[in-house]
Amino acid sequence: MGTRRMPAPIENPLSGVGVGLRPTHYQAILDNAPRIDWFEALTENYLVGGGQPLYYLDAIAERYPIALHGVSLSIGSTDPLNRVYLHELKTLAARCRPALISDHLCWTGIDGMNTHDLLPLPYHEETLKHLTRRIRQVQDILDRPLVLENISRYVSFSASTFSEWGFLATLTRETGCRLLLDINNIYVNAHNFGFSATDFIDGIPVDAVAQFHIAGHSVQQALLIDTHDQPVSPPVFNLLTHALARFGAQPILLERDDSIPPLDELVGELDTARQLLAAHQSNTSE
């Protein structure tokens, strides 16, 4: 793919455990200052002119580190990059100074449409070249490494020539982008497509990962579905332990997008992740 200046590695000021920032928790965060290390804000919710969304983002960003996590970059789409969106993202980043800016390794629409879903890509050379070019463009515009999340998926493509993890590893080497490793998505995909989740994790370069996601899933017939409406399952926590052993104490985020419980309940769930993180740090310091 040729040589090219890579973006400088990011100093990751995030550590510990965070929660996805959701409007239903805004006031409780400000009132109770919960024991959460950082919050991840859904980028598109804050691409507005003002009002409550930006008021609360500003207030919470004054008190906690923030990461921006998008769903509409559509880095894999064969439509042109949406430069208006990128400009708005950069403006938002200047406002809330996120520690990380992430999105998903997927496409969301074509021909100007947006399905608002994180759609899968075939893992082959054409996709690799396409993504490499676009990731470099985005990194140049944002002037920082892009962090991309592995998605859950329910189909695979006959034209794929890479494993999912082999594809991600190659992409990080080519572009200098970092990975947001969603542990639940690895678990879901491993179940749905019959590969080993630990093979996936062991196939990712150690220095490529900037963050973990954990979330819950549901069962639908023979498939696991990444619904984010359940507590994190024990096997996903087990897989997180494996990931911590390989990638070190990267920041962990608990995602919940549906059936969102009160913040206190999420903090309790987060404590499990915190304990795993502490156990890993204790083991590595011995």
Partner: protein, 265 residues
């Protein structure tokens, strides 16, 4: 098959609920019927949930089943072209008129338009509302040429039905947690005897609306469309004579105190 063609076929399968091109291409590995149905279902649920979020009172007015049936058609007619789901559904008030059945479509349409404007105000920019003090500092000889623009959260809405009354009653009922979400609409729509004129605006973080008299609404509409202040006063002369300028100035002061206007020139 190119990546571009694959994405076209995949998107077509989701939006048009037709997987034949995708399956005939053999782009997918086998055994994907259930998987594709998950994507198709998720696509529609996500857009439907966005519309439910933007039009919660319209949903109560129509009832959940009728609302879902209607928005399923809307989603087919209007695939999203927005980066954010926040912006999805902007055609719904107009679309109601042509595609809702078994309901007073004018009331439903005005209710939808009202809810959409409330939502727009929620996330609008703060703007730079002019103050009475700033206006007082302007030499009165320049007032005739003053032009204003609405602050971003402000909009005007004229209603010819009982849509706003219905909105208020269903909104109050929605705070009663014992009301089932599928409750039949409790209100019979009526055409208002005379149109009512509403201003929607956000004050600090809260979206509010208030009615204003017809004549004041007409004057405000002229201000919001960028007419200079002199042209706002002129039509008032027929009714108010020499008092026209004083009447207009009184309204202007009230609009400014409400924080509705930015000064253009």
């Amino acid at each position: 098959m190119t990546l571009h063609q694959l994405q076209r076929d995949f998107q077509y399968a989701l939006i048009e609920r037709n997987v034949s091109a995708l399956q005939e291409s053999t782009a997918l590995t086998e055994g994907t019927e259930l998987a594709l149905s998950i994507y198709q279902h998720a696509y529609r649920v996500r857009l439907r949930d966005a519309l439910r979020s933007h039009y919660p009172i319209l949903e109560k007015y129509l009832g959940r089943m009728a609302f879902n049936a209607y928005v399923d058609g809307y989603i087919s007619r209007y695939p999203s072209r927005s980066v954010s789901l926040t912006d999805y559904g902007d055609q719904l008030a107009a679309d109601c008129l042509a595609h809702l059945n078994d309901v007073d479509v004018n009331t439903a349409s005005e209710l939808a338009a009202f809810e959409w404007l409330l939502g727009r105000a929620f996330g609008a920019a703060q703007g730079a509302p002019v103050t009475v003090a700033q206006l007082s500092a302007i030499n009165p000889i320049h007032w005739a040429g003053l032009r204003f623009t609405p602050v971003p959260s402000v909009s005007r809405h004229t209603v010819t039905t009982s849509a706003v009354t219905i909105w208020r009653q269903l909104k109050m009922a929605s705070t009663d947690t014992h009301s089932p979400p599928t409750a039949a609409p409790p209100i019979t729509p009526e055409t208002a005897d005379t149109p009512t004129h509403w201003v929607i605006a956000r004050v600090d973080l809260d979206v509010r609306f208030q009615s204003i008299p017809r004549e004041e609404a007409s004057a405000l509409d002229r201000v919001l469309s960028g007419s200079p202040f002199a042209e706002v006063c002129e039509p008032l002369a027929a009714h108010h004579g020499e008092e026209a300028a004083r009447v207009a100035a009184t309204w202007l002061k009230r609009w400014i105190e409400a924080g509705w206007l930015e000064l253009v020139s």
